[in-house]
Amino acid sequence: MAFINLKKKEVQAKIVYYGPGRGGKTTNLEFIYKKYKSRIPTDMVAIKTHGDRTLFFDFLPFDIGTIKGYSVRMQLYTVPGQVKYNATRKLVLRGVDGIVFVADSMQLRREKNVLSLKNARENLAAYKKDLTKIPLVMQYNKRDLGEQGIPLLSVETLQQDLNADLNVPFFEASALEGKNVVETLKKIISLTMASLSKDLT
Amino acid sequence: MDADRPSSNKEVDDQLEYLFAETQSADAGLDPESQPGPLRDLKAIFLAVDWEINDDIMNALLRQIDALKNTFSGDRIMMLFLQLLEAVGKYVKGKKAHAHPDAIKLLNSIYTSLEIVSLSKGMTDAERKKILRIEVNRFQRLKDKLARKKAVEKAAALPKKDAPGESPPEEIPPALRYVLQEVRKVIREEFAAFKAEFKS
C-alpha cells in the first residue's frame, strides 16, 4: 500500500523480491546497492542467520528522483526464501505494491520455483491481494551458469511453468554479474508507478 | 585424611558464622529493600510509577506518603520532604498527560533525595536541610514555569484584556492551587526554622 504524501509531494512504495531460497534475491539487492550507492541514503539492512541466509528480510530504500512532480522513494525488500520461514515471509508482504519473482534457472530447482510462486499466491491472498492483479515481473536468474555446463531450465520451460497464465514481463538475468538486474528493477518500478492512482497522472 | 577434617569443619563453621551473622555491614541501611515497612513500600510504588502512571498507582503513592507522615511525625525535615512529594504527586495525579514533564522529574528527584536523607544514618541536620533546599528550589522553579505558562495561555485566550493586575485565585486549577499552597507553607516553615536557629 503506497503512501502519497501530499504535503511533501512524495510517494513511498514497497517492492518485494520473492522466490525460492538461494535463487538470488539478496544478490539482486546487493548489486543495486553497489551500483547506486549515491542514491541510497543508508546502509542496506540485512537480517540474516549465521549461515548468511536471509532470516527476516533485506531492505534498501531507493530514491528514484522526481516523477510527475513527486519525489519517489521505492522501498526494496527481499523475503526469506526457505520454506520454514513462511511466517516472516508473510509479514514482509504486508502493504506490498509490486513483486519481482526471482526464479532459479537451475534444472534441479524447477519444483522449488513452482512451489514458491504458489506460496506467493497464497500469502497475498491472506492480505486480500491477487497475484494476477498486482504489478509483477519475472526474473529467470543464474543464466550465467549455463556457460559452466550446469544444466539449466530453458526459458520456454520457465515461461511454461511460471508465466503461462500470468503473462507478465520477464528477464533472463545474472544477479551475480549484474546482467538485467537494473532492467528488472526499472520494469517493476514503472509497472508499480503506473498502478498508482490518478493523483499522480 | 583425619588431619584435614577439623580444619575444613572450621572453615565451614566460619562460613556459617558469617552467613548467619546478626551484625550488619556499615552501609546495609542504605538500601530501602533491606528496611522494613513503609519506606520499602514507597520504593516499590516509585518503581511502578516508572512504568505506568494511573489513578490506582498514584492513589497508592499518596496513601503511602500519609503512612510515612505518621512514621516520621517527629522529624521536621522528613515531614517537609513528604509534603513536597505529596504536592507534586497530587499535581501529577490530577493532570496526567497534561502535567509538565518537569513535574515527573521533580517527583523522582524528591524521592531520591528523601531516600538519601532518610537512610543515611550519620547525616547532620544541616546536610539534610541542604538537600531539602535543593528540592524546594526545584519546586519553586517548576511553580514559576507553570505560572508563566498559565499567563501565556491566558494572554492568548484573552488578547484584548488590558488589566495586567494580579490574577484572581479562582482561575488557578485546584491541583496547581494545592501546589502553591504547599510550597508557600514549606517555605514559611523553612523560614521560621531558620529564624529560630539564628535566635538560639
Binding site: 502519497i4 504524501n5 501530499l6 504535503k7 531492505f59 509479514l91 | 510509577v49 505506568e52
Partner: protein
C-alpha cells in the same frame, strides 16, 4: 492500491509530534504505516537516526510481535518497549494501520511517556478518520 494524507492532516500530525513528544524531551518520534512507510517524523536536532531503516525494521518487528501475541492467545501486547543504556524505544499502534515509534533517553519517564502516547493516539485517530 495506495492512500493519501493531505497537507492539513500531515500538518496536524506533525504539530502533535512536536508539542506532545519533542517538547517533553523525546529524542525522535516517527509515525509509520504497517508497510514501513514513513508518514511523519521529527527529532530534537541532536540525534540523527537512519529513520527509513528504523521504519522498515519497526514495521517488521511489530508484525512479528503481533503474530507471537496471537500464538499465545493474546490479541496484542499492551507494552512494546526496548530499554537501552542511552536510548529506549517505545512502539504503539495507532488505529489498525499505523505505528507510533518514540525514541527517548533516561531523563524521560516511561510511565509519563505512556500517558502522552495514549493521549496523542486519541488525537491521531480523529485526524486519520477524516481521510
Amino acid at each position: 492500491m495506495e492512500y493519501t494524507l493531505d497537507q492539513k492532516q500531515l500538518d496536524e500530525i506533525e504539530a502533535i509530534l512536536q508539542s506532545d513528544f519533542i517538547e517533553m524531551g523525546v529524542h525522535c518520534v516517527l509515525m509509520i504505516d504497517m508497510a514501513g512507510n514513513i508518514i511523519s517524523s521529527l527529532d530534537n536536532g541532536e540525534v540523527s537516526f537512519d529513520i527509513y531503516s528504523l521504519a522498515a525494521l519497526a514495521a517488521g518487528n511489530f508484525g512479528a510481535v503481533s503474530a507471537m501475541a496471537n500464538m499465545v492467545g493474546e490479541n496484542e501486547f499492551s507494552l512494546l518497549f526496548h530499554k537501552g543504556q542511552d536510548e529506549n524505544l517505545h512502539f504503539s499502534r495507532v488505529t489498525g494501520e499505523f505505528l507510533l515509534i518514540t525514541i527517548f533517553g533516561k531523563e524521560t519517564s516511561l510511565g509519563f511517556l505512556r500517558l502522552k502516547v495514549a493521549e496523542a493516539i486519541k488525537k491521531f485517530e480523529t485526524i486519520l478518520q477524516s481521510s
